[in-house]
């Protein structure tokens, strides 16, 4: 049987793919891999369609046993990898003999490490996606010890070479931002503060959003905002003035004003920022003020 057995699930390991885009009008969050390019790279490395489901580990890694000869690849936050007790590399297709253990260790930098398997993880899809949505509970539960994850038939040969787009993680994160729909609800000073201040990723961050702590952003409009649709990467400012960047499991609507939107190309960087990481915002387009 092509399958992976979970020996150690780690802090939080979930099945992820591209998520449930297109159902926000029913209140269904997008979900999917928080660092989607990393999962897509892992899929290419094992010869999968980029849309196949893989695993997203959080900080502490995961240990699995292959129940058949499989091909895996590890991307995202760099971590030590061992296959059958031998050291192995991230960013390369790895042949795993039947019965061998695949151990992904704690991330050295960054937050989320991805593991793709040739054929993809084929748990039953829910609304067209196998992603675990930690906000709504749709999709499979986070991995537990002893779980068996079915693996599909291989799509094709593993990639001989892929450009291993393994970017450096760690250090300060600079995010390009565009004006948000409610930038006018903030004072001019708050906008300057957003673009000049230094924030830190809070330990209360999760797949819903990266919560930031730093200089508070003051509102110019005190009215209550009726809930409105929000996009991935929206920088929402709750009553305490501390910004929150919405990630994959963000709610479909929100009742706090959105001052800015992180450029889609930079969302994976904030998704990979572990608690304590310094975050700065920079103008993604001209005409901010």
């Amino acid at each position: 049987m092509r399958a992976l057995t979970v020996l150690k699930p780690g802090l939080l390991t979930t099945v992820q793919d591209r998520g449930r885009v297109g159902l926000a009008y029913l209140g269904v969050p997008r979900s999917g891999a928080a660092d989607l390019p990393a999962l897509e790279l892992a899929n290419r490395l094992v010869g999968n369609d980029e849309s196949a489901a893989g695993l997203e580990c959080t900080l502490t890694g995961v240990t699995l046993r292959a129940e058949a000869a499989l091909t895996v690849a590890v991307t995202g936050a760099p971590a030590p990898v061992r296959v059958g007790g031998r050291d192995a590399d991230v960013g390369l297709p790895l042949a795993v003999p039947s019965g061998a253990e695949v151990a992904v260790g704690p991330a050295r930098t960054g937050l989320r490490t991805y593991l793709a398997v040739g054929g993809g993880v084929t748990v039953p899809p829910v609304l067209g996606s196998r992603a675990t949505d930690t906000l709504s509970g749709l999709g499979p539960a986070p991995l537990r010890r002893g779980d068996t994850l079915p693996v599909g038939p291989p799509y094709g040969s593993p990639a001989a070479v892929d450009v291993p787009a393994l970017y450096e993680l760690g250090g300060a994160v600079v995010l390009r931002v565009h004006p948000g729909p409610r930038v006018d609800w903030f004072t001019a000073a708050a906008v300057r503060t957003l673009l000049a201040g230094e924030y830190a990723v809070s330990p209360t961050s999760n797949r819903v959003g990266a919560r930031l702590t730093g200089p508070a952003l003051a509102r110019a409009v005190d009215a209550e905002l009726p809930s409105e649709g929000v996009v991935l990467g929206a920088v929402q400012v709750p009553a305490d003035g501390q910004p929150l960047v919405f990630l994959a499991d963000h709610p479909t609507t929100g009742g706090y004003p959105v001052i800015a939107v992180v450029d889609p190309a930079d969302v994976p960087r904030v998704a990979q920022a572990r608690p304590g990481t310094a975050v700065r915002f920079t103008e993604g387009v001209s005409g901010w003020t």
């Binding site: 885009v21 297109g22 159902l23 926000a24 009008y25 029913l26 209140g27 269904v28 969050p29 829910v126 609304l127 709504s136 509970g137 749709l138 565009h178 004006p179 948000g180 729909p181 409610r182 009726p226 809930s227 409105e228 649709g229 929000v230 996009v231 990467g233 929206a234 709610p251 479909t252 609507t253 959105v258 939107v261 992180v262 450029d263 889609p264 993604g284 387009v285």
Partner: protein, 205 residues
């Protein structure tokens, strides 16, 4: 209707009222179905429609800002749903006080109203139902309940709603229905999609 920038892939339309939201949402769905608009998500809300996953939001905003849209009744009818409801919620007496009527008066008013799903949010399949006049708006509970059962029928502001799944919640609970509100295996998965007309009927437990 005003347009707001919402990043490099989206536009937020801000409408004058819920009727204009319904009209723009229905019109944008029609355009997308007809191949005239490429967007991944069209998300109506209380006063806005989010158009997400578009290639050129600046051009789209300019185009839409110059247009008017027909009232919703002339565009779309998303069907009707009847929800049998046992009116025995823990906040029924409080709502009666807030409305200046009796428990029977609340039931008569709630069953006598034709609601319409204005938008979904909060959780999958949670429809915000409009139809009550603004003077019957009620506040949320001062302290949200840690767990509200699936099928609970509630009120908050001038909205009514039904919890599709167990969750924390601060709405005033007046009753419960046995209908399944969200089923991932159904198509569409939500019973109450935007535009659906909804009537509650009183039943004994």
């Amino acid at each position: 209707m005003l347009t707001h920038r919402a990043g490099p892939r989206a536009v937020l339309l801000e409408c004058a009222d819920a009727a204009e939201v319904a009209a723009w949402h229905a019109e944008l769905v029609r355009r997308r179905d007809a191949g005239e608009l490429a967007a991944t998500d069209l998300v109506p809300a209380a006063r806005t429609v989010l158009v997400d996953g578009v290639d050129d939001p600046v051009a789209l905003a300019e185009t839409l800002a110059a247009q008017r849209v027909a009232p919703v009744a002339e565009i779309a009818d998303a069907g009707s749903v009847e929800l049998p409801c046992v009116y025995d919620g823990p906040d029924l007496a409080d709502v009666a006080d807030l409305w200046g009527t009796s428990v029977d008066g609340v039931v008569a008013r709630h069953t006598g109203t034709e609601f319409r799903v204005a938008f979904c949010g909060f959780s999958p399949g949670f429809g915000y139902l409009t139809g009550l006049p603004p003077e019957l708006a009620v506040p949320r509970r001062p302290t949200p309940r840690p767990r509200v059962a699936a099928g609970s029928v509630g009120l908050a502001g001038a909205y009514s709603g039904v919890y599709p799944s167990p969750s924390p919640g601060g709405w005033q609970l007046i009753g419960r229905t046995g209908r399944v509100l969200f089923d991932p295996d159904a198509s569409p998965p939500a019973l109450l999609v935007p535009g659906t007309r909804v009537r509650f009927t009183a039943m004994r437990s």
